[in-house]
């Protein structure tokens, strides 16, 4: 009961922040001369026909899955105060390598997919290992190195897709792409599930990889809260010096955190790759999840549950973009709203955290009347 109460109390500031964000966006829409209520309607409009609604839900899921994975990847590093801005590059590299390797082999269905997943995670981790090694051996800021590696990843991926992994059957005029992954390596969609639930089946594939994402999220949640690694990560993030004084090597933690973060980043591109694209093509590759993932991780307070909700919220807003446009509201409004949501959540959260802390201090002081908040200077 108390735990439930605590949970509600923890969520309350976020809800306040969301309402605030909605109001601020409303003001913004008023300023550009449109009707905020119409915009609000459009935001929650999933379409008229059952098929349109099913499509809408499908788009929502397809968008939320990679955002969730990207947020998760970023949050691992955030937990110990590392800024892995390189999820973007890591998942691009992982996706192109996974596409190349996946197309080159043929295995029984579950094994094929498993191999591709493992390859993607390994590639992501390998690419994240570069900034980790640079940081631990040479003290290079991971912020700088990951940002630069993002640019390198774009070029590297373009070369991989053109040269070693290129589909030889492509005509000269066609965009470079990897060969298509064999059917055994394609992840089944959730479209049938819509039917089973009595909904219309969406016309476009709904990526079944969301199931994998949920499982990964649960595993990460358990690892973070119950494992030695999770504790060491948290301790390093809260007070690196105390962690080191108590035997937690910060170098080892930087490497471990970056590798895990990179491995998770490797999964970001897979829902698309295994669910619908089945090949890597520079033009149709969806970029940007890595950057949005940073906002998602911030919004989710680095907790897997929170990140899931944040990813759903971001995807929900993204999904409404086209519909807002049909109301005459520029699609940039969605991006602005996402920004306002993150900012207001962070601000309200910080205020709430301070209030909580003051209450804690008062309670502790009540327990011990000799408590003083000021240290005696020596």
């Amino acid at each position: 009961m108390t735990r439930l109460l605590g949970w509600v109390r923890g969520l309350a500031p976020t809800l306040v922040a969301l309402v605030m964000a909605l109001l601020i966006t409303g003001v913004f829409i008023l300023i550009i001369g449109e009707d905020p209520l119409a915009a609000l309607g459009a935001l929650f409009d999933f379409g008229d026909s059952p098929t349109a609604q099913a499509n809408s839900i499908g788009v929502w899921i397809n968008r939320a899955t990679p955002l969730f994975l990207a947020g998760l990847a970023v949050s691992i590093c955030f937990r110990m105060g590392l800024f892995n801005i390189g999820v973007e590059g890591q998942y691009r590299m992982a996706t192109v390598v996974a596409a190349g390797v996946g197309a080159a082999i043929v295995l029984p269905a579950p094994l094929h997919i498993l191999v591709i997943v493992v390859v993607a995670m390994a590639a992501g981790a390998a690419y994240a290992a570069i900034p980790a090694v640079l940081k631990t051996t040479r003290g290079v800021s991971e912020v700088i190195s990951t940002i630069m590696l993002n640019s390198i990843a774009v070029g590297l991926a373009a070369w991989l897709v053109r040269s070693p992994f290129a589909d030889p059957d492509l005509g000269s005029g066609e965009t470079a792409a990897t060969r298509e992954i064999d059917e055994s390596g394609q992840f089944p969609g959730l479209n049938d599930l819509f039917g089973a639930l009595g909904l219309e089946e969406p016309r476009r594939p709904v990526h079944g990889f969301v199931v994998v994402a949920i499982v990964v999220g649960v595993i990460i949640a358990v690892v973070l809260s119950r494992s030695r690694f999770g504790f060491e990560l948290r301790a390093s993030g809260l007070n690196a010096m105390a962690a080191a004084a108590n035997g937690i090597s910060s170098r080892a933690m930087v490497i471990k955190a970056m590798l895990l973060s990179g491995a998770l980043a490797g999964l970001v591109g897979l829902p698309d790759l295994l669910g619908s694209a089945h090949r890597f093509q520079s033009d149709s590759f969806v970029a940007g999840y890595g950057f949005t993932g940073i906002a998602v991780a911030l919004l989710g307070r680095n907790r897997p549950g929170g990140i899931a909700l944040a990813a759903l919220l971001f995807a929900f807003l993204d999904r409404a973009g086209p519909r807002l446009q049909s109301e005459g509201i520029p699609p940039a409004a969605v991006t602005i709203m996402q920004g306002i949501v993150v900012l207001s959540v962070l601000i309200v959260d910080e205020v709430a955290r301070r209030r909580l802390r003051r209450r804690e201090e008062r309670r502790a002081r009540a327990e011990d009347p000799t408590t003083r908040s000021e240290e005696v200077a020596s």
């Binding site: 119950r226 060491e232 809260l238 004084a245 802390r357 804690e360 502790a364 327990e367 020596s378």
Partner: protein, 520 residues
């Protein structure tokens, strides 16, 4: 030379209490025009608190401050600056990517209308620099300058704001010997220009060299003000340490013959050369507390870090029981049963933003039952945290309370409970009762004695002589990274201890041979 000048600053009967601790009591300090006035005392004696009162950062509970004979009250440092008092902090507060000029005027920018008048500022700075021989070049970037240069900028900054009294907080701690000489030359210039300098230090040789008068603080009170020429180093040391040493409690010796921790030939050099520790050799047997006395900064921290595996020694070995653990990582040492009470609990012992049960795990998270090789058990950690709170009288609402919400004393009790509630072989305790009130202090001492009786080998580093003498079975004195004396705590005299701690005598010298020395 300054005998007859009137006091520029007079502190009378200053008392400052923090709940549970009296940091300053009945302090008297009188600083004259044109003198360098040293304030000496052990770490924790209350020097910094006193200076913070004078600089307006704290308000005294009792007593009065007067400047030029007029009573004043400082609500904040701004008031103190306005009254002509300036502080040069031990840790410089300069913006690296600004020039010397910009740093000096920062916060006190000269303006003509809305524009910054850098020309006037430059003129004034050059004038200050020339008059006091500071040798400043206004357009250099601070990041290109040496520590000594930066210190001169800090001094210029204070002078620029019109200070007539400069407080220098341990200014030589960061300097090499030649730079110290240059600093003293600067101070002489200031003195001859009629300015006053309050020089805080615990290095007696330097103080004797530079000060016109010396005020000694011990346990929060001013003990005496003396002339350096009429006082020997040994007398000063005795004033600092106290003429009466606390009599150690006569407890039954529990020292056994089994050596649990053996340190041999340990040496550590700083990256840039000077050796921080050299040839440290000692044994700690089961049931023995080995104390290390010494003025802070003489190798204590390095010794502790070397034993805990936080710092790689250049030479020597550290052996636990029969295992040479010189190359073990810190984690393995903890797991082998070495408890650690670090000197700085906020930075090294606690996760302030984490609940107490997570703090219970810190350092012991690989040790079952609450910790483990792969998994931890938050449930068991909560139970253990609650048990520590009960056993060690940690007053807090519960295991979910953030460590930050606790008072310093309660935090320390929790840390000690955490370390001692595991089966330990060796305990390394650095200043275990620093910042803790008297009641908690006695409780912590009892715990250490109990553990000693149960066969624990303890290394105790402390600046509190009562603690060292009251607990230790064997007492070593560290000076400039070397063990300069091995003493029997029950026989040592303050003169001897103070002499060794300040380097006034060595064990080969005249005093050590007669009294205080024991064979181990």
């Amino acid at each position: 030379m300054t005998e007859n000048s009137a006091p520029v600053i007079e502190l009378a009967g200053i008392t400052k209490r923090f709940p549970g601790v009296v940091a300053n009591s009945d302090v008297h300090l009188e600083v004259r025009h044109g003198e360098v006035h040293a304030v000496v005392g052990e770490n924790g004696a209350g020097k910094s608190t006193l200076m913070k009162i004078l600089y307006g950062m704290y308000q005294p509970d009792e007593g009065s401050i007067s400047v030029d004979g007029r009573a004043v009250e400082f609500g904040n440092p701004k008031d103190a600056i306005a009254a002509g008092i300036g502080m040069v902090h031990q840790h410089f507060m300069l913006a690296d990517n600004f020039t010397v000029l910009e740093n000096i005027v920062l916060g006190a920018e000269p303006t003509t209308g809305l524009r910054l008048d850098f020309r006037a500022a430059r003129r004034k700075i050059t004038e200050i620099s020339d008059r006091y021989g500071l040798g400043l070049r206004p357009d250099r970037l601070v990041e290109e300058l040496s520590v000594a240069d930066r210190q001169r900028i800090e001094i210029a900054k204070v002078l620029y704001r019109g200070a007539r009294v400069l407080i220098l907080d341990e200014p030589t701690a960061v300097l090499v010997p030649q730079e110290v000489d240059a600093l003293f030359a600067n101070l002489a210039e200031l003195r001859s220009a009629g300015l006053s300098v309050i020089f805080i230090s615990h290095k007696l040789d330097e103080v004797r060299q530079v000060a016109d008068r010396i005020t000694v603080i011990r346990r929060g009170s001013t003990v005496a003000t003396v002339e350096p020429r009429a006082t020997t180093s040994r007398e000063l040391a005795e004033l600092m340490v106290g003429s009466e040493l606390p009599t150690p409690e006569t407890t039954e010796s529990t020292v056994t013959d089994v050596v649990e921790l053996a340190v041999a030939g340990l040496g550590i050099s700083a990256d840039d050369g000077p050796s921080l520790l050299s040839d440290i050799t000692f044994d700690v047997r089961q049931g023995e507390i080995v104390g290390f006395a010494g003025v802070e900064g003489n190798g204590q921290s390095e010794l502790v870090e070397a034993i805990m595996g936080l710092r790689k020694p250049d030479t020597g070995t550290v052996v636990l029981g029969a295992d040479d653990m010189t190359l073990w990582p810190a984690q393995d040492r903890r797991a082998a049963g070495i408890g650690f009470i670090p000197e700085d609990r906020h930075r090294q012992a606690l996760l302030l933003d984490a609940p107490l049960w997570e703090n219970r795990l810190l350092g012991w998270h690989v040790k079952p039952p609450a910790g483990g090789r792969y998994w931890i058990s938050p449930r068991l950690a909560r139970q253990e945290a609650a048990a520590i709170m009960a056993d060690y009288d940690v007053r807090a609402p519960g295991p979910e309370t953030l460590a930050d919400a606790l008072s310093g004393g309660n935090q320390q009790k929790f840390v000690i409970g955490r370390e001692m509630s595991t089966k330990l072989r060796v305990l390394v305790a650095a200043h275990p009762t620093r910042g803790v009130d008297v009641g908690a202090q006695a409780a912590i001492w009892d715990r250490l004695r109990e553990a000693r009786a149960a066969g624990l080998a303890t290394v105790l580093v402390s600046a509190d002589l009562e603690e060292l003498l009251g607990l230790s079975d064997t007492l070593y004195v560290l000076f400039r990274g070397r063990i300069v004396a091995k003493l029997d705590p029950s026989e040592v005299t303050p003169k001897v201890l103070g002499g060794y701690m300040t380097g006034a005598v060595t064990q080969d010298g005249e005093v050590g041979a007669q009294d205080g020395e024991v064979e181990g």
